[in-house]
């Protein structure tokens, strides 16, 4: 007897930039290989991650609903763990398909549907460090000044 599951998958943006359909098929093919019937699957979001995952700071989220029976979920977890293109996954049981999910998923099958290109992972460029030789003349100048200040202090002390 099959049960409905909700699966959220994090996909590597490099795979998504190459081809969205191919990136999506990474997950859907693995699901079908283990005997699942994919009810819906769609791009949920592309966003910056709250913390780096496998060295990546941005990822694309794929939301799927699928039906599978028996112990199928446990066997497919191993495939997702081994695949480097899937950064993280979450599979939870679902009572019913949420409203509007089927329509959003079918909108991706329409002609002319395109996924915006994910921005590059590195959002800033590190600034070059300052040149060290610039500090040396200032250090050399400080020494005679320090000696002069010490000499003034001694003379002031003698006056007191």
């Amino acid at each position: 007897m099959s049960k409905l599951y909700e699966g959220m998958f994090l996909l590597d943006n490099q795979v998504v930039r190459a081809d969205w359909a191919r990136a999506k098929s990474v997950v859907t093919d693995a699901l079908q290989k283990h005997g699942a019937k994919v009810v819906t699957s769609r791009r949920w979001d592309e966003r910056k991650l709250a913390y780096p995952i496998k060295g990546k700071r941005r990822a694309t989220y794929l939301l799927t609903f699928f039906e599978i029976g028996g112990d199928g979920v446990n066997s497919m977890r191993r495939d997702f763990e081994l695949d480097e293109r899937v950064l993280r996954y979450l599979i939870i049981g679902s009572e019913a398909l949420p409203e509007g999910e089927l329509e959003k998923s079918q909108a991706e099958l329409a002609e002319g549907f395109s996924v915006p290109t994910p921005p590059p992972d590195e959002e800033f460029v590190e600034s070059e460090p300052e040149a060290p030789p610039a500090e040396e003349p200032a250090a050399e100048e400080m020494v005679p000044e320090a000696m002069a200040a010490a000499a003034d202090g001694e003379s002031a002390g003698e006056r007191n």
Partner: protein, 76 residues
């Protein structure tokens, strides 16, 4: 030493409604869940969130799922 005047301190208003009928406790509702985190990304107590025991457990599970998927931070 002067005693602290605790009578004038106004208690913080609970974040959620009292009836716990908010359907938005889902790991995908990040903007809503983020309201229940402290500035250090810790989950608020029931006193502050205003949830019943069951809803607080659902909130806890949703936030932890969102953290696992990188939608919410663990720290900061």
């Amino acid at each position: 030493m002067a005693m602290l005047d605790t009578r004038s301190r106004v208690p913080l208003k609970p974040i959620a409604s009292k009836n716990c009928d908010d359907p938005k406790i889902d790991y995908k509702e990040i903007d809503y869940l983020a309201k229940f985190l402290t500035p250090q990304a810790q989950i608020h107590s029931r006193k502050r969130s205003g949830f019943c025991a069951q809803c607080q457990r659902e909130l806890k599970e949703a936030i932890k799922r969102a953290r696992h998927l990188g939608l919410l931070p663990f720290v900061g």
